[in-house]
Symmetry: C2
Subunit: 680 residues, 2 copies
């Protein structure tokens, strides 16, 4: 008796013998090969396309004859006529196996296909969205065996897809009878299955086969901006991206001022909650428009945010987060109907997943950074810094991961800086100071030219040169330090000390003039000693936080640094290290990760298992509270010097030689320190 045909699937390499006449889709299911199907093998969804290979395969030990699969049948022929089947492709549910065969499953036919996550890196997300489509044929009602339409749909899902105990909202039930009858008892349902194995839920229903896709929003809800990616839940592709300002800014620029607003105006959280929810709806509508999809096809959202935004989004009073012991109302992840967040712009039965918070100061955004950057998988010791109004820090390796936040304040975002402004057209974002002439050249947002290049004036005539943004002030301070205009203690030298008239006296200290736009009706853009102080406070807090984690880890140095956050993407590693924002590492070991929190949100949107993974990891992360750490103050004081009062920066020294200037004891009598000394 002849053996059953041997079937070998690539790229998985799975192989086995199946009876002749077995459809390829059935063979794949029997052998555990990942081959997609929405219609369950009825030849209408075309998700199960495969490519048979013919000829000799010594590697597999088989020869595949031309007639290894059956000829095209009527279903395939019709599909090809109506939709077009790529050359060499077959429908896996129609072609049956007649003899030994090698079958390739192309990526788009895999449910758990890998999608490239970040252009810059090689890491991938494996698709495993919580919401999937299922096509089902439902039994018609029978007066002799009365049962509800929903119960027959549930039975069909169990029988045809092995989905048990399905649930549905009243609003879904309200659409059910019409959809079933319009689709002649054939419907497609979107089923949401959470990552904890809870009961599945039908979130949408369409008559017949739904081919319009399913979408999700990955939302990074920041204090200042709200950014979202619209993702295809089948392919993982980003269809559109958009951002809006967080309207809560009108209640307070930074988080603590919003908490104060609630303290001063009991119930104020209600207004703020309404404002941010409305902004999310606006964003969803915009992004759906940009992606040219019906917003009702958005059936999932994943939201990451800091703890205060977390509470204000959920309608929880954030006041406890503003005072020790910084108790969160709830730190766990949340899976809830989006309508509970009043996200009415998307599908009314959409589900929202909110990542867990790590601690009262370390939010779901930091958890998302951990999900994206995976410190727990790092063999060397990595410090991940998410720079924003509050900096969150993660330090770890395969052994252990620690987290803390550090109160940097808003200086890194250009706030509390004399010429500071938000990152907007006209803002200086890059700056270089010639160490010899002490002359600056710079670039502004909205123009690719440097200020000493031809055409710069014309190119910036529209926006003007209006101020200096967060990354610009960091570069400016670092460049001043490298050019010998600024000493380690943070004092700016006088014109006489520095040899440039750009250093000018202002009260009892000196400032440095970057650009005088007064002739064109613009501002004088300067860096004052006050600005230096603000940056020193911010960077010292950041560095002290990192050192506290290193203490806890028992590490004197770290192996590499990842700068995350939209702002981190614009910081030059060299300048950050000159400033002493981050511990000393080889410069090529400082990388920027872009919006890692947003990437983490995307991962959680596309992959259910990632939700379970980050929930476990957050429980395992060691939380360090800077507010009660005895050594924080000590680290902070030492870190106020530029780059540092005591820690050596040997790697920095190999790349940059910092002038050994000191303007405190200078001879011109204008230094603040000297003045106090005189009065004493």
């Amino acid at each position: 008796m002849a053996q059953d045909p041997l079937v070998i699937f690539t790229p998985s390499g799975k192989r086995g013998r199946v009876p002749a006449g077995t459809p390829v889709l059935s063979a794949a299911r029997q052998l555990g090969v990942d081959l997609d199907s929405v219609c369950g093998g009825r030849g209408i969804c075309s998700k199960c396309q495969i490519t048979p290979s013919y000829g000799d395969f010594p590697k597999h030990g088989v020869t595949v004859r031309e007639d290894a699969l059956t000829e095209w049948n009527a279903v395939e022929a019709r599909y090809d006529r109506v939709r077009g089947l790529k050359k060499g492709r077959r429908l896996g549910c129609q072609a049956t196996i007649q003899a030994d065969v090698v079958i390739d499953v192309p990526p788009e036919s895999q449910v758990h296909r890998q999608v490239v996550r970040k252009e810059a890196t090689v890491r991938d997300i494996v698709m495993d969205a919580a919401t999937r489509l299922y096509y089902v044929e439902v039994a018609e009602p029978d007066m002799h065996e009365p049962s509800g339409d929903f119960e027959r749909l549930a039975a069909a899902l169990e029988e045809q897809w092995n989905i048990k105990d399905i649930q549905a909202d009243l609003t879904l039930l309200a659409k059910l009878q019409k959809a079933l009858r319009k689709g002649d008892w054939k419907v497609t349902v979107a089923v949401f299955a959470d990552h904890h194995g809870g009961p599945s839920r039908i979130t949408e229903i369409w008559p017949g086969l739904h081919e319009g896709g399913l979408f999700g929003l990955a939302i990074d809800l920041g204090s200042t901006t709200i950014a979202a990616h619209l993702c295809d839940l089948d392919t993982g592709a980003v269809i559109a991206s958009a951002g809006v300002m967080n309207p809560q800014i009108r209640f307070g620029e930074d988080l603590m001022s919003r908490v104060s607003y609630v303290m001063m105006n009991p119930g104020g959280e209600v207004e703020m909650t309404a404002a941010v929810r409305e902004a999310l709806n606006t964003l969803a509508t915009e992004i759906a428009g940009e992606g040219k999809i019906d917003p009702a096809l958005i059936v999932e959202t994943v939201i990451v945010c800091n703890p205060v935004m977390h509470h204000l989004l959920l309608g929880l009073d954030p006041v406890e987060l503003g005072q020790a012991p910084f108790a969160l109302t709830s730190s766990s992840s949340l899976t809830l109907p989006s309508r509970e967040l009043e996200l009415h712009a998307i599908n009314p039965r959409a589900q929202t997943y909110i990542l867990p918070c790590i601690a009262g100061h370390v939010g779901a955004d930091c958890a998302a950074v951990a999900l994206s950057e995976e410190p727990e998988k790092s063999k060397d010791l990595v410090l991940i810094v998410d720079v924003g109004t509050n900096a969150e820090l993660l330090l770890g390796n395969t052994e252990r991961v620690l987290a803390c936040s550090s109160p940097t304040g808003p200086a890194f975002e250009g706030a509390q800086i004399s010429s500071g402004q938000r990152a907007a057209p006209g803002a200086i974002e890059r700056i270089r100071i010639d160490p010899v002439t002490k002359e600056p050249r710079f670039r502004v947002i909205g123009c690719d030219l440097w200020s000493d290049e031809d055409g710069f004036d014309a190119a910036t005539a529209q926006t003007g040169i209006s101020g200096i943004c967060g990354s610009g002030i960091i570069e400016a301070v670092a460049e001043m330090r490298m050019a010998g205009l600024l000493d380690a203690s943070g004092l700016i030298g006088s014109a006489a000390q520095t040899g440039t008239e750009r250093c000018f006296a202002e009260g009892r200290t000196h400032s440095y003039l970057i650009h005088d736009a007064t002739a064109e009706g613009g501002p004088r853009i300067t860096v004052t000693v006050g600005d230096i102080r603000a940056i020193q406070l911010a960077k010292a807090a950041l560095y002290a936080g990192a050192r506290l984690l290193m203490d806890e880890m028992g590490a004197e140095t770290v192996d590499r640094v990842v700068l995350a956050g939209a702002f981190g993407a614009h910081i030059s590693p060299k300048h950050a290290m000159v400033l002493g924002m981050i511990p000393d590492v080889p410069l090529d070991k400082v990388v920027t990760a872009g919006n890692a929190a947003g990437t983490g949100a995307r991962i959680a949107l596309c992959n259910r298992a990632a939700r379970a993974r980050i929930e476990t990891q957050v429980r395992e992360i060691t939380k360090v509270e800077t507010a009660i750490a005895p050594r924080f103050q000590e680290h902070f004081v030492a870190a106020s010097a530029i780059p540092h009062a005591s820690d050596p920066f040997p790697n920095l020294a190999t790349a940059v030689t910092l002038p050994g200037v000191s303007f405190n004891m200078g001879g011109d009598g204008e230094g603040g320190g000297r003045r106090r000394r005189r009065r004493a």
Copy 2:
């Protein structure tokens, strides 16, 4: 070595030895004795009160010494001082066992206490509400081990009450932090645990010990009226009862006219849904006011209703229920947040349970009747008739239960009757006709006197005598049949044939005058042949339904009949049987069950296991669809005669002798039949 003390609990009889010094509450838990505690043994809730017995107990084989329990401690003394402890009572969590003792657990200290369900019967409900109170002490936040307040509450519930995986809505989380701090980290929570073992849910939280109780509403949502009982979820006591008219009446008097309204006005179900939900809110507010409780303490509702009301309550289009194959959108029970039904008058996190529907014409109300009347436990064959606009019938015994509905129309409710009216003050509800004089006497709603008693005129002067209600017309027709004024075919005799001027010609037929109030500006209340026809149609439908079930069961007779429904409570068994509404059984085997659907709702409210039980039973009930049964028409025609054209009524014959009159072939030429004959 001396043995450990022996403790014997009554009334359970559970006994065992526990180490000396064991608190009574702990001993009860070890021995599986049902002893309540909300505070978990902290001496503050007083739910664990017990009564020790002293002296010789030969039955138990022990002698209880005076010092078998410890003396009162400070906690008991304070409790007695502040609240008062009944004589002989101890707090089970404070008194510890020192020597052999007999301890009685009074009913109010049992969680699963039995509460009398119906005054008229001896059946009980065992308390096992889905929502219970738990007092917990929650760990304070710790900056070194940051966790959310909710997570610490969840841990406390698991540790102190073994409640795992607790969940909560955002609106509960929003109250959490204030409650914990106000209660100094001690709170009482209401926990809802469904009957399927799904995750439990905190539905309310109070600082400290909550002593205000918890309540639920058992709602019977009828086509015409909505009735509710407000029940104490701890004791099962009915605190208040109330009813309102179903405001959907303005869209159609009966169910089919409401379905027609939706057919004619697409989207009309939205208006009707809004109207009934508003009525439920009004009812909840009223009943809470009557019960003098805060409506926010209503944390559960159970709703029973017919299929059309079921759909209109849930916001589902009822059109499919108006046409074969009468497909329900969903037939299963529903457990859902009450706010999804817009029940905003009660606790915002209240949970609603809706019993399963049996079939497209046989609703959750019929399921509730089954839960209340338990045909599946009946050793003899019982027919349960829930009489209303649609009659639902259950026939069964321990072997098998069948159900159907029968389209009786609204005649039994006084509609489509010439002098008919709703059951309201002034309506004739009881009537007797003297078989000799043919004179009627009657009672009207709102007055306990019969019309031939002294003071009747004065007592009814206010309301007048305005018409005849459903039970009144049934009695009137039956009395006319017994008095020889009406023949088996449904014809009323002439004055000459009957010997009373109260029978008067009206067109080609005769009518019977019950009361002429025209002198007082009131109506002439008569029974016309048209009225008789309406009653005949209704009762024939009811009887035909019962016969269809008997056919299916293979039974020629039933053993007993239960008349359910608010209307059933007012029907006299004898009159019902004279009319031939129900199969012939001994008169003492016809009992009325009052509002059995409402009782079923109360049972499901007080006892979780009853929900699981009725869900199983509904699946096991054999559904009989009268609309497609070939023999229904045959049964219907035969049942049009009064009492019946062919079925013998031997039991009725032993109680009542019906005059063998026939007015069809009468000699005076006024009978309709004769007239037709003449013209032929």
